[in-house]
Subunit: 290 residues, 2 copies
């Protein structure tokens, strides 16, 4: 990564500030620059020292950048590409931390100038918490990071992005944006839809009686609504297919319960239990549940 | 609780062994007796010292009991009432730790002899783990315990059962079995159905890419399938209504996603987020999230 002397992160939420925290201080030989559109966040970021430098101006923040990482809600990306594009150095790499990829690649192709290389990134880290206060320099340790590229993606830029995430402790895999969005719809976006629907179907008074099961099952629904609205909006077809599949399974279980078919109920619950046991076994073997 | 000299717990899974562990040793002045139908569990229970005495014979285990607590899967209760009923002391209290209540009260009324008092109990504690190895003497600290009674429930017996759970650290509330089953269907049984349906709708290969969100959202689906099949079976109408409500909310969210109505998507996610924030605030204020 000798070609990376400065990385600029746009957006200082949980993910953005965790990137700058991991880079700041020079241990990787990279300067960590940052920009946030909120003055209060910039002040806090400077006070907490989450980056080597925090800029007040987005164009200025990227002028010297060898890599720019977008860490704001996805639907702001197209506008950001237009804003920063003209001022980027030739050879600059642009990437992001967004949870969907197809539309982002499309927007990058349309709006970034020639000589600037876009590569998609999705570090699967974070939590339901939001904001610069929750940034952690070890957030990416053992996290999966999916790097996405298409036919026309610059191979050197992709290699640099992969090395960058590896240096932050990520386990990096590559795939196309299309495959990424299909998989993530099912393993990440659908659970979010389920958690939100469960809460929305619940009676506030009754909830006082809930135990830890309900609390855990709905944890991700406490994530920022604007960030997730953008995710659902930019991966709509895949997510709707996922919701249909989940409704199908709910109806199958409901039918067994209605018919008082205890064997079938137990079979469906056992199937789910087995699947999760295998998943946990796999995740533990990969040290992804630390 | 001077009238309680011996409590007998039938079933030494996570909940049953946690009850005996909390009572054993005499700190409450009560002898903790236990029975399990599995010889291997009885051996393990004796080795771990989870009870003051572990019986090989169920009738013998309850002969001297002032209170019997059923802690086996719900659908075994009716048979157990028939088995132990004739040998119970006059004035003996029978209760349980089952997650549904209406049918249990019905079975008790039908099968327990005159002079024996049934009161329902549902300590909302436990986890996805199973078995005597996971028993903990502090499992009930700050846990909610719902005690259920009907018009004909003996008030003294109900008072004793409430005192017993309080002495184990529970926060005790009372309601009718009907209200209990309605509430629990929504705050406990429905989340379980959602978690199972999410897993059953998921592709095993794709799951390798999941993050902690999926893991947490599905934790409760790792609970024993036979115990939960009994819960679904004995609370079928309420759970089916809950599943319908959840499907409605999923369809509402799906419609907003399909229509690319970002404002509506965000509104639905914000509604869920607000509800959970209020729930967490309430639970923290009640010290129920320790």
């Amino acid at each position: 990564m000798k070609n990376l002397r400065q990385v600029t992160v746009i957006g200082l939420g949980l993910l953005g500030s965790s990137v700058t925290l991991a880079v700041a201080g020079g241990s990787l030989g990279i300067k960590a620059a940052a920009y946030s559109h909120r003055a209060s966040t910039r002040r806090k970021a400077r006070k907490l020292g989450v980056a080597d430098v925090v800029y007040d101006d987005i164009r200025q923040s990227v002028a010297e950048a060898d890599m720019v990482i977008l860490a704001t809600p996805i639907c702001t990306f197209e506008e950001t590409f237009k804003t920063i594009g003209p001022g980027l150095k030739k050879g600059c790499i642009v990437t992001d931390v967004g949870s969907t990829k197809v539309l982002i690649h499309k927007w990058a192709k349309k709006n970034l100038p020639k000589g600037v290389h876009f590569v998609g990134s999705h570090p699967i880290a974070g939590s339901e918490q939001r904001g610069v206060d929750f940034g952690r320099d070890d957030l990416f340790h053992n996290a999966i990071c999916i790097v996405t590229g298409e036919k026309n993606t610059n191979p050197k830029a992709a290699a640099t992005v992969k090395k960058f995430w590896s240096s932050l402790g990520c386990k990096v895999s590559t795939m196309t944006p299309q495959v990424h969005d299909k998989i993530l719809a099912n393993v990440s976006h659908l659970p979010h839809a389920m958690a939100a629907a469960l809460l929305n179907a619940s009676d506030t008074q009754q909830l006082k009686w809930c135990g830890k099961g309900f609390i855990d099952t709905t944890r991700i629904a406490s994530s920022p609504a604007n960030i997730w609205a953008d995710i659902f909006y930019t991966n709509s077809e895949n997510i709707c297919k996922g919701i249909d599949a989940a409704i199908n399974r709910l109806n199958k279980l409901k039918k067994a319960i209605e018919m008082k078919d205890k064997k079938q109920i137990e079979k469906l619950l056992e199937l789910a239990r087995d699947k999760r046991a295998k998943l946990i076994q796999y995740k533990v073997s990969k040290k992804e549940l630390m």
